[in-house]
């Protein structure tokens, strides 16, 4: 008989105290206010009791199980009134913030902290600290720091029983790659060949990732030589401190060469390698040969060879080289004509088809393979079973059409009868303080018996319990015969422990953030149920402030038996200053303002751009952000201050932004100007997809008289600085699947702005811009997109900023709308039939754009794949223009030109069409695009050949000009 232990006996002098009267029970150190009541109640000994050994043992166990003590001793002293007991406790410590300092990347700080395995809130011990140090040293060693040393610095946070751990690392120099020894049964390559292939140059810094990359490169090299089953291992074998070098040992077993040949069909070597190398990597056996056969079958089936057959032979040469010969009988190439589904009564065809890949939109739907069919059958089975049709049978077949005319896939469904829920009962939920509305179960009497519904209910129940502080919740269910055929009685059985409450909430790591800001974002309240939802929400709120690079929320003492749990919130404040630099260029007909009047339609140009951004995070400790952004280019020099307050009014729905802008611009070639603006904007997130902006802006815009390319008589008036104050509101509904490269969804905006004396404006006008764009995925990667944009500016009052008011044939923009406040259009992100800001009315004397009081733009695009995953094409049609006034919006496509007594009058209020094509190349920051547009009806206008001086003195010549019919645009992101 095995036994744990042997005999010994230790009675003790303490026995003399047992059975005597307890006069007093004390704690040393005294219990803190936080634990006084709870921990005192765990002690099963009170004054007046007869001292009992088992009660004392139970008390120690109960106190220890709280996890708050690492040691408990009870001592006894005889007093005149009995025995005085003192519980002498040693507090337990828990892991607080963990940092590893002094290591240059790699490894990263995150890798190092993870390596410590010290988790926030878990018990801290010297043993755990020692293991953490060893793990960090081991990781550092893998990254070449072979002489690293660690000095742990412990900071004890006594009130919260936390230990903040800082491992101060002295890394020493990173070791270099030294000698390389190559071993293996049949070495093909020596050290000299392997080093350059693997990138293990002598003297290169030794790092784990370099070692792994080298192994991968070697494997690829050997595969390319036909050694598909090569095994390659490499490790750092020895460190030589004197030379600070690591010796590498690579063991290479090339194995036999594998030659794969195909008979009966052709397939490119690259494709063959891609299909089979992953299968044959490591070894070749009967199963893998079958897998290769299946892979080839899939290849040919997907190309229409639905009757294809593949067999194989293997020949091994004396050298050990293996030749695998796959014989392919492709049969005739056929097209998948139809996917027929029959036998479905309870689900319509649409519901079934949306779960299938065969016959779906896009090229993939016409590609038949056996595995695709099997996947579709499984998806249909799953649909039926999850809706109570437990006996449903789904089968598929391929039916060849006679005469080589393609083939059909038939899917036969035998639904069987559904099993319904006769009744639903619950147990274990009586204690839960739920109002019944919370539990609108997906499973219900009379509904199909579905495991999917049960899974939904399970998730809902668990979530509600977790939210109410129950941590150890288990959900089980049973379905029993109800007595009626195909009816089951369903029982949900929930078991759970006691609910936990939030005890102390201990926050650490924040030194600059104001406590009230933190407190407002913590959704855990002392005494309330310990809700996991509140823990997640707290973490999210704090991250959303943008002031912290890391936020951890954890329970302290997770395995302790406490009801009131201390929640630890550990934050790491982000750096307060952030700097960003960027560069770029605009290429195209960018219409930059120059001294010449000769080219009012703009000319191809190049404008380099530089951006600098400085951001100060967590201003005044309030988690607000102040940023300064500059943009310097030939078209624009801009400085923008922004002060942002997220979670305005303590709500994650409101944000405040105050901006100050100084902008000199020459992006319209008619004029150059300067704008100074201050604005206050409130954003309100109504839902995940809907946002409303409320904005007040006050700006002073001045136009440089020397740059105005308009009729000289109007220059003094137009060049007057104008102050515009406006109140505006913008409604944004964004239901796009991907804002940078949308495939499906809708995007709508409505902006209404009012400039009036009441808000400090000199001119009075209202401006409305509405946009609606929709995106329809016709097939995978085939997207039809359309967008309609309409804008009007309606002035009133007498303030006139320039421009004539002639009621003639060709109306000019209303002079009550200042030049810089008008609509300008045309360019890569607007009407692609125009160069940048070249749409709309033009000056009668110079032909330069004047802007307008309205704009209409309708765009449609068909976006399609061009080859490869990243390359796509687009054909588009843009129709629209900038119109002189809202009342002049017209769908007419012809431009009216009328001779007058003084010359020729040109009308610009007509619809300009542009059609064209473009290519898009997907990048991580959005698609890069090039568009070429052709305009059949570009505007004609009267231009002037000469300089401003010549215009003033009546020299130079007037000449009818026409915008180019061809425009090209190079830009980033889709047009809309």
């Amino acid at each position: 008989m095995l036994a744990l232990g042997g005999l010994a006996a230790v009675p003790c002098a303490a026995a003399t105290y047992f059975g005597t009267l307890v006069s007093e029970v004390l704690f040393e150190p005294p219990l803190s206010a936080q634990w006084r009541q709870g921990h005192r109640a765990l002690v099963d000994v009170s004054a007046g009791d007869s001292l009992d050994a088992s009660s004392l043992g139970r008390s120690i166990q109960a106190l220890f199980r709280t996890g708050r003590y690492s040691d408990i001793q009870v001592d006894a002293t005889s007093t005149g009134e009995g025995v005085r007991l003192v519980f002498r406790t040693t507090p337990a410590w828990f892991v607080g913030n963990v940092r590893v300092e002094g290591v240059g990347r790699p490894p990263s700080a995150g890798q190092l902290v993870n390596a410590t395995k010290l988790r926030l809130g878990e018990p801290f011990s010297e043993q755990a600290l020692g293991e953490a140090e060893n793990s960090v040293l081991s990781l550092l060693s893998e990254y070449g720091f072979r002489e690293a040393g660690i000095m742990p610095i412990l900071e004890h946070d006594v009130p919260n029983q936390q230990v903040h751990v800082t491992l101060a690392v002295r890394t020493g120099p990173r070791a270099r790659i030294g000698a390389l020894f190559v071993s293996g049964n049949r070495p093909i390559l020596g050290e000299a060949e392997i080093r350059p292939i693997a990138g293990w140059k002598r003297g290169a810094p030794f790092r784990r990732d370099r070692l792994q990359r080298g192994i991968t490169r070697l494997r690829q090299h050997f595969e390319a030589m036909g050694h598909w089953a090569a095994t390659i291992r490499a490790q750092a074998a020895e460190y030589r401190p004197a030379a600070n070098e690591v010796t590498l040992v690579a063991r290479i077993e090339p194995g036999p060469r594998t030659f794969v040949r195909l008979e009966g069909a052709r397939i490119s070597q690259r494709r063959l390698h891609n299909r089979l190398s992953a299968i044959f990597r490591g070894s070749i056996d009967a199963d893998l040969l079958e897998a290769g056969k299946a892979s080839l079958l899939e290849h040919f089936q997907s190309r229409g060879y639905v009757e294809a057959g593949v067999s194989y032979e293997v020949a091994t040469a004396a050298s050990g080289d293996v030749t695998v010969l796959y014989r392919v009988d492709r049969g005739a190439s056929r097209k998948l004509r139809e996917v027929r589904v029959q036998g479905n009564r309870s689900f319509d065809l649409g519901t079934i088809r949306e779960r299938m890949r065969l016959g779906a939109g896009g090229g993939g739907g016409r590609r038949f393979t056996s595995s695709t069919l099997e996947a579709d059958l499984a998806a249909i089975r799953s649909l039926y079973r999850s809706n109570g049709f437990r006996d449903a049978r789904v089968s598929g077949s391929v039916v060849l059409r006679p005469g080589g005319g393609g083939f059909d896939v038939g899917i036969d469904i035998d639904e069987g009868s559904p099993t319904l829920v006769a009744s639903l009962e619950t147990s274990g939920m009586a204690e839960f303080p739920a109002d019944e509305r919370r539990f609108q179960f997906a499973a219900a009497a009379g509904q199909p018996f579905s495991e999917a519904s049960i899974a939904t209910d399970r998730q809902r129940i668990l979530w509600e319990f977790f939210d109410a502080g129950y941590q150890d919740v288990r959900f089980g269910w049973r379905a029993e015969p109800s007595g009626s055929p195909r009816r089951v009685a369903l029982l949900y059985d929930v078991s759970h422990g006691r609910p936990l409450r939030t005890g102390r909430v201990a926050l650490s790591g924040a030194s600059r953030t104001r406590p009230d800001v933190l407190a407002r974002n913590i959704e855990l309240r002392e005494g309330e149920p310990l809700s996991q939802a509140a823990m997640f929400a707290t973490q999210r709120n704090l991250y959303d402030l943008g002031s912290f690079s890391k936020v951890d929320v954890a329970l302290q003492n997770p395995d302790g038996a406490e009801t009131d749990r201390t929640v630890l919130i550990q934050v790491e404040e982000a750096r307060r200053w952030a700097f960003g630099f960027g560069g770029g260029a605009e290429i195209g007909q960018i219409g930059r303002n120059t001294a010449e009047l000769t080219n009012p339609a703009g000319e191809a140009g190049f404008s380099p751009r530089m951006t600098v951004e400085v951001t100060r995070l967590n201003m005044l400790g309030k988690a607000h952000t102040l940023s300064f952004n500059t943009r310097l280019s030939l078209l624009q020099q801009r400085g923008l201050f922004t002060y942002q307050a997220p979670r305005w009014f303590d709500s994650d729905r409101w944000q405040l932004a105050i901006t100050g802008l100084y902008d000199t611009f020459r992006n319209v070639n008619t004029f150059a100007g300067r704008r100074v603006e201050g604005a206050l904007q409130l954003s309100q997130n109504l839902s995940r997809t809907t946002t409303v902006l409320y904005r007040y802006a006050y700006r002073r815009t001045s136009v440089d008289e020397q740059t105005l390319h308009i009729e000289p008589l109007l220059v003094p008036l137009v060049s007057q600085p104008v102050r515009v104050g406006s109140l505006s509101s913008t409604y944004i509904s964004d239901r796009r699947d991907n804002p940078t490269d949308t495939a499906a969804g809708m995007y709508s905006t409505l902006n209404i702005a009012l400039a009036s004396k009441l808000v400090g404006s000199q001119p009075s006008f209202a401006r409305v811009i509405a946009q609606n764009s929709t995106y329809h995925q016709l097939r995978p990667r085939l997207v039809f997109a359309r967008s309609l944009q309409l804008g009007v500016a309606v002035p009133w009052g007498r303030y006139v900023t320039g421009g004539d008011q002639s009621p003639g044939f060709a109306r000019r923009p209303d002079p009550r709308v200042p030049l810089a406040e008008r609509y300008f259009g045309g360019g890569a992100n607007s009407h692609r039939g125009f160069a940048y800001n070249q749409a709309g009315p033009r000056d009668a004397a110079t032909g330069f754009p004047l802007g307008g009081g309205a704009q209409l733009l309708n765009s449609v695009e068909l976006r399609f794949p061009l080859g490869g995953v990243d390359l796509s094409g687009v054909v588009f049609h843009d129709a629209g223009n900038v119109f002189s006034r809202p009342s002049r919006i017209s769908l007419r496509s012809a431009q009216f030109v009328r001779p007058t007594a003084t010359g020729t009058e040109y009308d610009f209020d007509y619809l300009v069409h542009a059609m064209g094509f473009g290519v898009r190349y997907r990048t991580p920051i959005g698609p890069v695009r090039l568009d070429l547009a052709y305009t059949p009806n570009p505007p004609r206008f009267l231009g002037f050949d000469g300089t401003r001086q010549q215009l003033l003195v009546g020299a130079g010549t007037f000449r009818e000009q026409r915008s180019s019919s061809f425009q090209f645009h190079f830009s980033l992101g889709q047009t809309f």
Binding site: M1, L2, A3, L4, G5, G6, L7, A8, A9, V10, P11, C12, A13, A14, A15, Y17, F18, L26, E28, A53, S54, L56, G57, I60, Q61, F64, R65, G67, S70, D71, I72, Q73, V74, D75, A76, T77, S78, R84, L85, V86, R88, P123, S125, Q127, D559, G560
Partner: protein, 222 residues
């Protein structure tokens, strides 16, 4: 000056008097295994149970206390391992059967069961728990380390030649024929293998779980 000195003295006296004077330790945490504590009371109870079952008198010294503590640590480790195979844990009926047998047993000094319990200062619940642990442990060993174990004929012969024969000679007893003692040898060998495997498993468990021996005496010493 005098009032200040007196004030300081009174303050010191007050502070001193509020700190409980250290008395004799009568119970404490002796070891920690995982998140469970083993107390000095547990060690004493185990010693009483062992003495009760062996019919031995309780010794009056602390000798052997650490052995019992180490044994209790191992038992806790086995308990933690048993969590993965809860069906091995003894049920009430199993323990009752063993208790019934014990009750019929004659104890030290001819005492009856209750008298013997009183003699050793042992509570019946403590004994019940000990028996439950013992049964669970035996099942654990049988299930984990004996199931599927086999002893070959060669091992039996080797044991007969190298261990059994010399032992009988040393004892001056005649050696039986191998076939007569093969079953006993096989059982001994199985037991030895199980013990070896148990030791290996305990080593693994010691690495898996936190173990701290705080000691049986004052100030953490053994």
């Amino acid at each position: 000056m005098l009032p200040a000195v007196m004030g300081a003295a009174l303050l010191a006296l007050g502070t001193w008097s509020s700190v409980p004077v250290r008395g004799e330790i009568i119970d404490r945490i002796a070891a920690i295994v995982g998140s469970e504590a083993i107390t000095l009371s547990d060690v004493r109870d185990e010693q009483r149970v062992q003495a009760f079952l062996n019919g031995a008198e309780l010794a009056a010294t602390a000798d052997g206390g650490m052995d019992v503590l180490r044994m209790l640590v191992n038992r806790r480790l086995v308990h933690l391992d048993l969590a993965m195979t809860p069906f091995l844990v003894a049920e009430d009926s199993d323990v009752s059967e063993l208790m019934r047998e014990l009750r019929e047993h004659a104890f030290i000094g001819g005492k009856d069961f209750a008298g013997a319990l009183a003699h050793y200062g042992l509570a019946e619940e403590v004994l019940l728990q000990h028996l439950r642990d013992q049964i669970s442990f035996e099942r654990y060993v049988a299930f984990r380390f004996k199931t599927g174990q086999q002893v070959g004929r060669a091992e039996i012969e080797e044991h007969y030649r190298d261990v059994y024969g010399p032992r009988q000679a040393t004892l001056g007893l005649p050696a039986e024929r191998i076939d007569a003692v093969a079953a006993d040898i096989e059982e001994d060998l199985l037991e030895a293998k199980a013990t070896e495997l148990l030791e290996l498993r305990l080593k693994e468990l010691r690495l898996l779980h936190r173990i701290e021996i705080l000691g049986l005496g004052i100030g953490g010493g053994p």
